[in-house]
Amino acid sequence: MRWSKILAMAAIILAIAALGITAAVPLPIFKDVAWLPWANQTILGLDLQGGVHVVLEAKDTPSAKVNDETMKRAQAVLERRINETGVAEPVIQRQGERRIIVELAGIKDPEKAVIDLIQPAYLEFKNELGQTIITGADLKDALEARDPNSGQVEVDLTFTKEGTGKFAQATTANVGKPIGIYLDNKLLQNPVVEEPITHGQARITGYESLEEAHTIAILLRSGALPVQLNVMEKRTVGPQLGQDSLDRSINAGIVGLVAILVFMIVYYRIPGLIADLALIFYALLVLAIFIGIHATMTLPGIAGFLLSLGMAVDSNVVIFERIKEELRTGKSIRSAIDAGFRRGFVAVFDSNATTLIAAIVLYYFGASMIRGFAVTLSIGILVSLFTAITLTRWLLHLTAATNVVKDPRYYGA
C-alpha cells in the first residue's frame, strides 16, 4: 500500500464531493453566501419557469412601409415597452429583414404580455371634422394616476414643447366643440373643449383599474409602433407547466444518472467506480461552464446534456473494453491501462467529432429551441473528451499506484 497515493485519492474524492454538495445542498453554515448552492445560479429558460417566445413579422400597410429604419425603431419601441415592465433578461432580436424575436421568461401572464407588445398604441386627438390635430409622437410623458377626490383612474398626458403649442392652438380653435381621443383608431373619449388648454396637459379617463391605466401609460410612453407587427409563431409556457417540467427534468436526470452510475460499477468494478467519479465531476463541470458563460438552460438543453452524458459513458465503455482485452493478453494493470487508452482514444475521438459536426449543423439551421440542445450537446462533448480521457486515465493510474487492489479481476479481466 502506498499511503501518499491513497491520501491523494481521498483528497480528490473529497474535493468532488464538496463541489457536488455546495452545488445542490443548502448548507446552514453558508446561509449568508448569496451564490450558494451554486447550481441555483443557472439561468432557466422560459420553458422551465414559464414565459413566452414570440416571432413577430412586420407587415407593409398603406401608411407605413417596412424598411431597416422602421424595423430599428420598432425594435426600440419593443425594448422600451419590455424594460418598463421590468422583465429580467429579455431577448429582443432582429431576425432577417422583417422579423423580431422576443423572449420573456418568468412572467406571470405571458399571453397578456404578447397582446400588449403588439398593440400599435397609436394615439390621436381628432377634431369634429376627423382631422388629426396631435398624435402620440408629441407626447413627452404619460402617467397613470388616481384622482384623489373622485377616485377615478386616469392617464395623465404631458405634451412636448412643440406639442403644447399645437394643442393650445387646436383647443383655442375648437372651444365648445368636441375633440375625440383615439387609441388605435378606437374612440376612447370625446370631451367638449370648455376653454383653450395652454399648459400642455391632458388626461384620459374611464379605466377600470390602476393596472389597466398603468399598461396604457407604458404603451404611450414607449411610443407607437412604426409598423404593424403580426405574430408568426408564439410559444407560451404557463408558470405551472414550467415548474412541472423543471421538477420532472431534475427527477429524470437523477434517475438516469444513478442508473448509469450503478451500471458502470456493477459491470466494470474499479474502472467503473473511477468512471463514476469522473462522470459526476463531468456533470458538475458542464453545469459550472453553463453558469460561467451565462447560457440559458432549457428543456431541449437538458436533453442535450443527458445525451452528452451518454456519450461520456460511451467513451469510458470503449476504453474499458480495450483495457479488458489488454489484461487478457497478460499485460500488467498499468500497461493495460495505457494501451487501452491509447487504442481506445482514436475511436472515441472520431465518434465524438462526427457527433459534434451534427451538433454544429443543428445549431446553424435549427430554430432557437433546437439551438439550446445543440449548445449543451457541443459543450458536453468537448468536456467529456477531457474528463473521459484525461481525468479517468489519471485517476485510474492513481488507483493502480495505491496498490490497494492488485487483482486484475477487479479491473475487469
Binding site: 420553458d47 416571432v55 399571453e111 397582446i115 403588439i118 403580426n230 405574430v231 408568426m232 409563431e233 408564439k234 410559444r235 407560451t236 409556457v237 404557463g238 405551472q240 407547466l241 417540467s245 420532472r248 427534468s249 427527477n251 429524470a252 434517475v255 438516469g256 442508473a259 448509469i260 451500471f263 459491470y267 428543456l299 431541449p300 436533453a303 443527458l306 445525451l307 452524458l309 451518454g310 456519450m311 459513458v313 460511451d314 465503455v317 470503449v318 473494453e321 487504442r343 482514436v346 475511436a347 472520431d350 465518434s351 467529432a353 462526427t354 457527433t355 459536426i357 451534427a358 451538433a359 449543423v361 443543428l362 446553424y364 439551421f365 435549427g366 430554430a367 433546437i370 440542445f373 450537446l377
Partner: protein, 289 residues
C-alpha cells in the same frame, strides 16, 4: 463463433421488411403533421377536477375554433386543444370563455404557429440533413475511407426511414422536436458505425496473410459487440427515464430517439459493415478482371 457477415443477406432482408411497410405508409397516408408544420394553435389547459371533455368541446366548438376530435385529455385534469390559428384576442376569448363555463383554468401552454413557419421548418430540416451528411462523408473519407463514408450514409438513411416509417404507420404526431430528434439520431447512431470502422481500420493494419475481408470485419464486430451493447443499454437507460419521468413536451422527441438508438445499433453492425464488405469484394472482383 457466429459469423455476422456470412448471414448478411438475412440482415438485408430484415432491413427491407422494416423499411417497406413504413415507406408504403408514408406514400399512401403520409404523416400526422402537428401545428409546427400545418400552422394553428395548440392550447394545453389544466382545469378543475371533474370537468368533462364534452364541456371543453362545447366551448371550443361554440366559438368555432376547432373540430371536436382535436380535443384530447392528458392526465386527470389537463386538456390539449388543437385549433386553427388563433389571433391573440381569440386566444384570450377562448380562455375567458372556458373560465366562464368550466371554472378555474390554468393555461399550461399555448403554441401559435403561422403557416409560413411550417414551410421554413421543412426546408431547414432537409437542408441541415443534407449538409450534415456531406460533412460527415468528408470527415469519414478523411479519417477512414470514402467507401466507409458511403455505407455509413446509407445505413443512416436506413435508420431515418425506419423512424419515419414508425411515425407514419402509427400516425404519431410529428412536430419540430421530431426534426431535432432525427438530426440527433443521425449524430448519435454514427457513433456506433465509427467505433466499428475504427476497429476494422486497426485490424486491417495488422491483417494476417490470407485473412478475408469477411473474417476481418466479423472479428471486428465481435470485438466491439460488448461495447455496442453496453453503450446502447446506458443510453436506453437515460432515454427510458426521460420518457417516463420527463414530462409531456419531450415525449415525441424521446420516442424518436428510442427507436433511432435501437435501429442505429442494428444498422451499424448488420448493415453498414456487411455493405462495406460487399463493396470491397466488388472492388476485388473488378481488380481481378
Amino acid at each position: 463463433m457466429f459469423n455476422f457477415i456470412e448471414h448478411r443477406k438475412i440482415w438485408y432482408i430484415i432491413s427491407l421488411l422494416l423499411i417497406l411497410p413504413g415507406l408504403f405508409s408514408m406514400v399512401t397516408r403520409g404523416f400526422n403533421l402537428g401545428i409546427d408544420f400545418t400552422g394553428g394553435n395548440l392550447v394545453e389547459v389544466r382545469v378543475e377536477q371533474g370537468v368533462k371533455i364534452e364541456q371543453v368541446r362545447d366551448v371550443v366548438e361554440g366559438l368555432g375554433f376547432a373540430a371536436s376530435n382535436n380535443i384530447q385529455k392528458s392526465g386527470t385534469t389537463d386538456y390539449i386543444i388543437r385549433t386553427r390559428e388563433l389571433t391573440e384576442d381569440e386566444s384570450a376569448t377562448l380562455i375567458s370563455t372556458l373560465e366562464r363555463k368550466v371554472g378555474e383554468v390554468n393555461l399550461l401552454r399555448n403554441d401559435r404557429v403561422g403557416p409560413v413557419i411550417g414551410r421554413e421548418l421543412t426546408v431547414n430540416a432537409i437542408l441541415s440533413l443534407l449538409i450534415a451528411a456531406v460533412l460527415m462523408l468528408v470527415y469519414i473519407t478523411f479519417r477512414f475511407e470514402f467507401k466507409q463514408g458511403v455505407v455509413t450514409i446509407v445505413a443512416l438513411l436506413h435508420d431515418l426511414l425506419v423512424v419515419l416509417g414508425v411515425f407514419s404507420i402509427f400516425q404519431i404526431e410529428v412536430d419540430s422536436a421530431f426534426v431535432a430528434a432525427i438530426l440527433t439520431i443521425i449524430g448519435y447512431s454514427i457513433n456506433d458505425k465509427i467505433v466499428i470502422f475504427d476497429r476494422v481500420r486497426e485490424n486491417s493494419r495488422m491483417r494476417k496473410k490470407g485473412e478475408s475481408v469477411e473474417d476481418l470485419v466479423n472479428i471486428s464486430l465481435w470485438q466491439t459487440l460488448v461495447r455496442s451493447l453496453n453503450t446502447g443499454m446506458s443510453v436506453l437507460f437515460v432515454l427510458l427515464t426521460l420518457y417516463f419521468f420527463g414530462g409531456t413536451t419531450l415525449k415525441t422527441f424521446i420516442l424518436a430517439l428510442l427507436i433511432g438508438v435501437v435501429i442505429g445499433a442494428y444498422s451499424s453492425m448488420l448493415n453498414a459493415s456487411p455493405l462495406w464488405v460487399d463493396l470491397k469484394l466488388r472492388e476485388k472482383k473488378a481488380a481481378a478482371k
